[in-house]
Symmetry: C2
Subunit: 199 residues, 2 copies
């Protein structure tokens, strides 16, 4: 994911999203306020409320914003070779987030609120479904090409996302430097053992 | 893990822990108050404050209580056969929590606060280190007996805990009924492919 702080923008919604990103990194979810986002935005709280009624509305929009950015990053994966494409997808999921530890912290707080906030849970589900769809598609493609075993693609996609979500949680809760690298290696071992066809 | 609600106890600390467990299941972490725990305990808030100054003190003790219960449950695993013992450990980690969904919800809220609360993070780290120690020990035992491959036991323990933590997070955030079962199957596939020696 490109760093959202370093780009020139003019859309006010996008500017508010970037301000939210900076405020979330600085204060975390629990201590986030519209006032703090407005300070990052450089305008009044009224300028935020013009677009979003509540902090929850704004954060639901922020989750959409993150998902859109993830989709853009995935579209940059240009190769159609299934083995390479699966590797690059796993890199997007497990290597790129290393530069965004503060965001992982804030997102885990939002994730933990999913049981209480329907708008959060539906977005996390939508995000997960989208990534599993990408994984299934590339695995199906590899099966058709004869380079992958005839695996249960739905299960493999869920297995890989279990490893991804484990890494995201461990990086935050245990503050483990190696959490993402361990998960990347585990995903690699899993794919090599179960998915990639023997020559 | 045995259901902590169904046991006869007399130790006041243990009674407070059970009351905390019930209150956490009902209200979650964010809406938990000493008053609500006292109501479950059937005594005044002063009776709680006699033992614990703050909600955070009490919840740190609660995390110790859960870890102790987990240790007790693991000690019930009587077999010393490494393959069976590894399977039973994975069952304790990935099958037993199915009956404790509300606890998974409350614990994920506490986990998400680990970056802000040192007493939470040190307990989650201690818990994780203990379980990885158990996993390493059984894997080393299997390597000595020649039934497991000569794997990097530290990495395998971390890989399995990544799958466990992924399942715990997905069961809560996505409210996925299959999260734990998917992770159990993934752990099994990983162990079969990487750890268990070919005959």
């Amino acid at each position: 994911m490109a760093d959202p702080r370093n780009e020139t923008v003019s859309d006010p919604n996008e500017e508010i999203m970037r301000a939210t990103y900076r405020a979330l990194r600085e204060y975390g979810y629990a201590d986030l306020t519209i006032k703090r986002i407005a300070d990052e935005y450089g305008k009044s709280t009224a300028a935020i409320h013009y677009h979003y009624d509540t902090k929850e509305d704004l954060l639901a929009a922020f989750l959409d914003f993150i998902l859109d950015r993830f989709k853009d990053a995935v579209h940059e994966v240009e190769t159609t070779d299934p083995e390479q494409r699966l590797e690059l997808l796993l890199d997007k999921l497990l290597v790129d987030p290393e530069d965004h530890h503060d965001l992982l912290v804030a997102v885990l707080e939002m994730r933990s609120q999913a049981p209480y906030k329907e708008r959060f849970s539906e977005r996390f589900r939508q995000n997960d479904e989208y990534v599993r769809y990408l994984l299934r598609t590339v695995i199906d493609h590899g099966i058709e090409d004869g380079v992958f075993n005839d695996v249960d693609t739905e299960h493999v996609a869920r297995a890989l996302m279990t490893i991804v979500d484990g890494a995201r949680t461990r990086a935050v809760v245990l503050d483990e430097d190696c959490a993402l690298a361990t998960a990347r290696r585990t995903a690699e071992e899993y794919v090599t053992a179960r998915v990639v066809a023997d020559d």
